[in-house]
């Protein structure tokens, strides 16, 4: 009778595990998808041996002469590789990485359509007297393309190969994009797993009247929540370890700082988001409302917290606010531990804040929790 397998906590934890592990979609989105994302983004931003900029070149309607007239066009015709109505110029630099520029000769309306579709970043209006460039100055890629093309038009492709001696490419671990990305993905994994795995599960079970049925028994309510959080936390550990293992083997990602600090932040992050998840799911029994609530929580943080790109691109006034979002704190701490060699001394404050956020949210959530 006293066997552990008959204990309600054991049975609740195994039930939650079974529910998660027997759903292939959960394994895909929880484990496989983050690894695919790390692989895809890591490859896309780390191993670009050759960057290609595409632009449209338009002859002014009033011009009767052929495309051969201006300096730029003359250069393209003489040195470019022509395929259909497109010219490609290759710029070579061992340290900067090679670049290819593709120019599509086309009409105005078509050039704009291509720009709107993102097929080109720049429109070059080529007149006999002058060359005009149309692009969005806020688009870094377009700006770079403009600078390359204008230099090409002035100096030919040789400008790109010059000054190699002054460039020292950073290839050491901790400075690559993938080193920025992996800690962010692990942090995001905690948020997503807790938000969907805890909040949605509770709302779903409330909507199916299962919570009501359970509390009509002598089940301890705290055991139900503890089991749910324990099952989710265990899976979060497994998901994070698998993602890290992949990054270690594929990209050579290393933890340069303290492992205990990493574990403390991982725990604090889980406490924070588990608490928030309980608070978020404390009332509603409608899965669609729950869906909205969870999205309202995770989407702003996914955008603002700098999981994929640095949040320092946001306006200065927003940075102090962004820095104290739970996801930002976890991602920032992970990054400083992974890439800057941070230890417990550097992250204890964030760990305390995250734990406090989780604990307060949990207590408030329990106070207003509706079981039916």
């Amino acid at each position: 009778m006293n066997k552990i397998t008959n204990h309600q906590l054991y049975r609740l934890i195994t039930a939650h595990f079974a529910e998660i592990l027997r759903e292939p979609a959960v394994i895909f989105w929880g484990v496989v998808f983050p690894i695919l994302m790390a692989w895809g983004l890591g490859i896309a931003f780390t191993q670009k041996s050759e960057v290609n900029f595409k632009m449209a070149i338009v002859k002014a309607i009033t011009e009767k002469d052929s495309i051969h007239e201006t300096k730029l066009v003359g250069y393209l015709v003489a040195n470019g590789f022509k395929k259909d109505s497109a010219y490609t110029i290759a710029l070579k630099n061992e340290k900067l990485g090679n670049v290819s520029l593709t120019f599509f000769e086309t009409s105005w309306p078509n050039a704009f359509t291509m720009l709107k579709k993102g097929e080109v970043v720049l429109i070059i209006e080529d007149k006999t007297s002058e060359t005009k460039y149309h692009f969005d100055p806020a688009n870094v890629e377009a700006k770079t393309a403009y600078q390359l093309v204008s230099a090409l038009s002035e100096h030919g492709s040789s400008f790109y190969a010059a000054n190699q001696a002054n460039i020292e490419p950073l290839t050491m671990k901790g400075t690559r994009y993938v080193d920025f990305l992996i800690p962010g993905l692990i942090a995001m994994g905690i948020m997503m797993a807790c938000s969907w795995g805890i909040s949605y599960t509770i709302i779903d079970r409330r909507s199916k009247k299962l919570l009501r049925r359970m509390v009509a028994t002598p089940m301890k309510k705290s055991n139900f929540l503890f089991a749910l959080i324990t099952a989710r936390f265990t899976l979060n550990v497994a998901e994070a370890l698998l993602l890290f293992l992949f990054a270690l083997l594929y990209f050579g990602t290393k933890v340069q700082g303290s492992w205990p600090a990493l574990i403390v932040i991982f725990l604090a992050g889980n406490i924070a988001f588990s608490g928030i998840a309980i608070l978020l799911s404390s009332h509603t029994a409608n899965p669609e409302v729950g869906n909205g609530l969870i999205n309202a929580l995770v989407t702003p943080m996914m955008v603002l917290s700098g999981v994929f790109f640095s949040y320092h691109n946001f306006p200065d006034w927003a940075i102090p606010f962004i820095k104290y979002l739970p996801l930002t704190m976890i991602a920032d701490c992970f990054r400083s531990i992974f890439n800057e060699g941070a230890g417990l001394v550097d992250v204890w404050r964030e760990a305390l804040i995250l734990t406090a956020v989780g604990t307060v949210s949990f207590i408030i959530g329990l106070k207003i929790f509706k079981w039916y």
Partner: protein, 246 residues
Amino acid sequence: MAVFEYIVDVRQVKKSFKDVKAVKGVDLMIKPGEFLALLGPNGAGKTTLVEMIEGIQHPDEGEIFIAGKQWKNHQHELHQMIGLSLQETRFMDKLTAYETMRLFASFYKLGTDRVDEVFKLIGLDEKKKAYVNNLSGGQRQRLALGVALLNKPKILLLDEPTTGLDPNARREIWNILMDLKKGQHTSLILTSHYMEEAEFLCDRIVIMDQGTILAEGTLQEILTLGGGHHSLDELFISLTGRHLYE
């Protein structure tokens, strides 16, 4: 445990939700081992009454005693003696019937012996390993009934246990309940839309509408008192002006 004349004793209970008076001063006494049907159309107040007996709603006025105890101070003991099956409860889809039963058994500190016993009782032995979402409607209702019977409840509350089931599946549930009745250890409060279910299973029938009890007694008693109607259907229409299923 002390022997009580009434296992459930509801006294002058009232309950309102905002402006709606769901239950307007109801008295209801149920003897140990008695099977009682609570009939009424939607909005009659029967679910609110049953939820107050279950302990998940609290009366605004009046008192409810279960085996002489009130919910306020005896939650744990009362949960031990009540079993219930809700009409729309859906168990975890990816647990097997056996795992579901063991989960609920663990809440009562019961082991595999009782789980095996209940599976035999509900005739679901061959479906032990099936996931809940692969069970038919009738099998799910039998599983829900089995879960409700795990703790050998003194009071069993069944909310429309056979709604939506085909006649065979309904008959299977009835047979399980008739076997239970023979044991005389369990009192049943059954809400239903099916007259024949109330007639077949229950010792006493209570007809509710608009928060009050309109008629109460054995089938013969209420038919006679109601002016010699031939069936519950007729009586129900004459009392409420509506069909039971409305």
